[in-house]
Symmetry: C2
Subunit: 220 residues, 2 copies
């Protein structure tokens, strides 16, 4: 499948490389046509990788676009990507509205009564925004077996058919159907974005970022 | 041990009854000396249960006081309990700053850049506030085996010796040492209080409140 990845950071790199490994064609979108980090990524990933502007990458995508930008830039980037280029497509939003401007630990720029995912959905009413994968280290997102045992990925979105397609993609990369939890509409993304503060503290307390949330629901 | 439970709601009832079951003497604190719900609880729980005002209950406690009030009332209740009656004692804060005034789902009255636990610690500088147990249904708090398999309880607090004592109490009710995660100082309670929004959505999505968070950290 032709998939766009918006963002050239660690998350975009991990997602893009893993999608290529799985046989997809991936175009990495950036502010400019020839971003250095994006070119390095293409060089590393061979013929199924390419790069261009956010708008060009969004237009390239057949059906699925990953938003892998830093949360504070996400809305600007998606404006650059262009409403028309994203129309009718699924935007998998893995970003988090983290504010590092006051150092560690970061706070959230949006939370509690709103979420970045809702703001993105409002910005792009003709796009099917599905918030997912934002609650774990980027290496685990499309490679869940890096952490053994059961653990969960959460989905939030207004369109059930789009969530079904994301579910299929997630299963294709190794997520068990039973470990994919559909929380409901896009406003449920408030809950997953608000997991970040404890995620960051767990990273410190456990001394590793190779962990993930699991909802233990076995009744005795 | 003589333990105080502040609050006569579902959480206070569950915590108080379970502590009595485990052999402790429990005094339930309320706004008045003879609150109806507290008297009903005493009647149900026999000779090791008693009730009186918040201040009297706090004074009764040898070492441990549970704050089981609704988060929006917590600071007022703790003022009524009295700084002197809580001095040098451990306050296990299981409350959450949930605001139901706009219906479901609730939002948080404090979050992101502050937490209820921090406000309580600031109010009571001579008390050892340990935030714990606020991330699960009240029946599981002191009875974790109601959910099978591993799941976690988080602790936040500024005083290591107090967290050690809470750890001992938690192990005495069935929590495995390995499943008790010390997140760090009291400010880490921001993270656990911010788990509530997803907890509430999971309750809806899963159709049960008998679940809990588990941090899966097995590396493959």
């Amino acid at each position: 499948m032709k998939i766009a990845v918006l963002g050239t950071g660690m998350v975009g790199n991990a997602i893009g490389s893993r999608l290529i490994e799985l046989g997809h064609e991936v175009r990495m979108g950036s502010r400019t046509e020839a971003n250095e980090k994006a070119i390095a990524w293409v060089t590393k990933n061979g013929k199924n990788g390419s790069t261009n502007t956010f708008a060009n990458a969004a237009a390239f995508a057949e059906e699925i676009v990953f938003n892998c930008t830093k949360g504070v830039f996400a809305l600007d980037v998606l404006k650059m990507a262009g409403q028309q280029n994203l129309k009718g497509k699924i935007l998998i939003d893995v970003s988090n509205p983290l504010d590092f401007s006051n150092g560690m630990p970061p706070t959230l720029t949006i939370s509690n009564t709103d979420s970045l995912a809702e703001q993105i959905q409002n910005l792009l009413p003709d796009t099917f925004v599905v918030k997912a994968l934002n609650t774990m280290n980027c290496n685990l997102m499309l490679n869940p077996s890096l952490v053994t045992g059961d653990h969960n990925v959460f989905m939030s979105g207004n369109n059930d058919a789009s969530k079904e397609k994301v579910n299929t993609l997630l299963q294709s990369v190794g997520w068990k159907d039973n470990n994919i939890i559909d929380l409901g509409d896009i406003s449920t993304a408030r809950g997953t974005e608000m997991l970040l503060p404890i995620w960051i503290r767990l990273w410190g307390a456990l001394g590793t970022d190779q962990f993930n949330f699991f909802i233990q629901r076995g009744e005795s």
